[in-house]
Amino acid sequence: MQTLLFALEVSLNGFMTGILYALVALGFVLIFKASGVFNYAQGVMVLFAALTLVGLQQGIVPFQHLINNLLGTSIHGFGWNMPTFLALLLTLLTMLLLAWLVEKLILKHLVNQNPVILFMATIGLAYFLEGFGDLMWGADLKKLDIGIPMGISDTVEQTTYDWFGYGFFIDRLDITASIVAALLVIGLTIFSQFSKTGRALRAVADDHQAALSVGISLRRIWVIVWSIAGLVALIAGIFWGSKSGVQFSLSLVALKALPVLMLGGLTSIPGAIVGGLLIGVGEKLFDFMVGPMIGGATENWFAYVVALVFLLFRPQGLFGEKIIERV
């Protein structure tokens, strides 16, 4: 009984972690679905968004390191703290600007190229942003705090204690993240179902050629999806950044999102969510049940191996479009 309760607790926590994975995965799916680009830079966009948010909030002078080095000055901060709301807004604007620049400077020139080429371009973008983010805001660790509650939820612990005689641990940050993720998905669904732009997005996702022929501008679509992906990156960055502080390693969350994508299918938003949940629960349970027998730290590869085995039976992922081969 006790073990069962633990397993349940582990699964619940896995579930919550899965939502955080799904948040990162969502950014990949949005871009892939609308433009067929596998955006490797999504992880770095998460880092970049979080860095920009903290940088603005704490009043760090952008490029101070470079300026000081070139001009021999020693400026460090503006000396004010920006209100969180304003910082969020400005970060969002930065992400929109980034999306616009990406389209203008990169994607525009690579229309009709092989998807692999576009994928590689995003690798280049990832490199660029990684260096650029550090150059702009500095590579030291920054604390991100925008007032999201963190730590064990007493309500959940008390309730479960009353029910089972064992209090469950649920992180309040995770609860917030789940709510935000749910809102985000609902928002995206409403947007894509009911707005004109949303319909255009779906049309493009269904059939590029047909969409183009009825006068939908692919380039505008690209700016829009990259902007939305920037928004998703910002949200993921806030939650992951609150957990660990904002620094270089944050971009590595992308590695946790990739198996989620494979499992859920590259083109499916529900797939990203369900995939995230499956991976989250699966890896925690596996580490809990099997981990101790084989020495633990299985989380890095478990998700990938599960996704791999799964793909063997369903190459297009859980919700991906079925691949029909034709000659």
Partner: protein
């Protein structure tokens, strides 16, 4: 063709870049101001540079010779570490301090061949303490096995010497570094009868929920941590999340910097870590640093890291190296010493309270002596605790010594095995 052209231009550049600075005392510093561990690498690099700037500005160097620091960026990457080593070793480099266990392992065989000493302060290969076998490697004042034992001794102190049946977990970075204390802790658990649980965390360690659920479920009494980089701050956050009593959570000295506790905010209050040296800026040395370095605008960093744990550690490290240079100069009667002389200086280093006072760091760290057999010092450390309100570390214990009975045989065993594998005849 292209390769050749590149190579030629490269050769010209390199030849132009490196005018041999023979008159200076050259100390390379393999820094990492970028990459996943940059938050730790930046304060350390600043502290190292600032201390030697102070010596140059205030004293005109050491023994009349200016010190030249060559900072070479590795990004904590082993290959770049090797490249930096090869690029700098020809410039009369006196001693290497790579600040990375991975790079240390690379360089151990190389420095022996090139006859340049290497000082790995509180990291690197533990059994290098045996100077009879590791002639060119120094790891004073303490090593990981000392650290493990000191942490256990601290727990013993708190429990009146009786910890049998206590549950102690080790949360460790799943790499060569993190695995270091395992053997010691296992031996000690035989001796004291505590229950040891090993909990590895893979690089980078952004996600540790299942590890901490395991600790919560197992109702661990104490948690020790051998972490590095983002793993530390995530672990402290997660410990706070499960309301683990922070005073029972003890990190090694690499898991005890401001970077590690700040992201958790006030919830990190009372978190403990081992300390090789004092904390804060309340030492005469900092007055000098202010006068000669910061106020003159010569500081290496933006000033935010001054007095932080890793900054202080680098200051301590550079003070030790400077002292070794002084010792070598006195032994050999020349001011412009060679790496071989530097090795003698390191091996005959004696750090007493007076010496530390002369640095402007009275009571900063334990006094110790290095000898031919013992390249590792006495293995003394303190415990520091985080005060989240004041945002500062406080030293809360006196010097704690490690359990030599357990550690010395382990060091002997490991070093003799290395000697056998590499055909080294012990000296001394």
């Amino acid at each position: 063709m292209k390769v050749r052209k590149l190579a030629i231009s490269l050769a010209t550049i390199i030849s132009l870049v490196a005018p041999p600075a023979l008159a200076d005392l050259v100390i390379p510093w393999l820094s990492y101001r970028t990459g996943p561990y940059s938050p730790s690498g930046i304060p350390a690099a600043d502290g190292f540079a600032d201390y030697f700037t102070l010596l140059n500005e205030r004293d005109g160097g050491i023994g009349g010779e200016l010190v030249k620091i060559i900072e070479c960026e590795t990004g904590y990457n082993t290959q770049k570490g090797v490249e930096c080593y090869e690029a700098t070793k020809g410039e009369g480099s006196l001693v290497y301090a790579p600040l990375s266990t991975g790079i240390t392992y690379q360089l151990i065989p190389k420095v022996a061949v090139d006859q340049i000493p290497m000082h790995t302060m509180g990291y690197g290969r533990t059994s290098a303490k045996n100077g009879a076998i590791f002639e060119w490697i120094f790891n004073f004042p303490g090593n990981y096995w000392d650290g493990a034992s000191i942490a256990i001794n601290h727990i013993l102190d708190e429990n009146g010497g009786e910890i049998s049946g206590k549950k102690i977990a080790l949360v460790y970075h799943n790499s060569a570094y993190g695995k270091e204390p395992i053997k010691t802790l296992e031996k000690l658990s035989e001796k004291y009868g505590y229950e040891l649980t090993l909990i590895p965390v893979d690089h980078p360690g952004l996600e540790q929920k299942s590890q901490w659920l395991e600790i919560r479920r197992g109702r661990m009494d104490y948690v020790l941590m051998w972490g590095w980089g983002v793993m530390n701050s995530v672990a402290i956050q997660e410990a706070a999340n499960i309301r683990f009593p922070m005073e029972n959570f003890i990190g090694i000295w690499w898991s005890g910097s401001e970077n590690d506790v700040l992201p958790a905010g006030e919830r990190a209050h009372n978190y403990k870590a081992l300390a090789l040296h004092g904390v804060g800026t309340d030492y005469p040395l900092y007055d000098d640093l202010k006068t000669y370095v910061y106020d003159k605008g010569l500081a290496a960093g933006d000033g935010s890291s001054i007095g932080s744990v890793l900054y202080n550690r680098a200051v301590y490290n550079s003070a030790l190296l400077a002292e070794a240079i002084k010792t070598a100069q006195e032994m050999h009667g020349v001011s412009d010493i060679t790496p071989v002389m530097m090795r003698d200086g390191l091996e005959n280093l004696s750090v007493t309270e007076e010496v530390m006072t002369s640095w402007g760091l009275p009571g900063f760290a334990p006094p110790f002596e290095v000898s031919c057999e013992n390249h590792g010092g006495d293995g003394l450390a303190m415990v520091q605790q985080w005060d989240a309100e004041a945002q500062e570390w406080n030293i809360i214990t006196g010097l704690i010594s490690s359990d030599k009975e357990v550690i010395d045989p382990l060091i002997m065993e490991d070093s003799t095995q290395y000697a056998a594998e590499n055909n080294i005849t012990p000296r001394c």
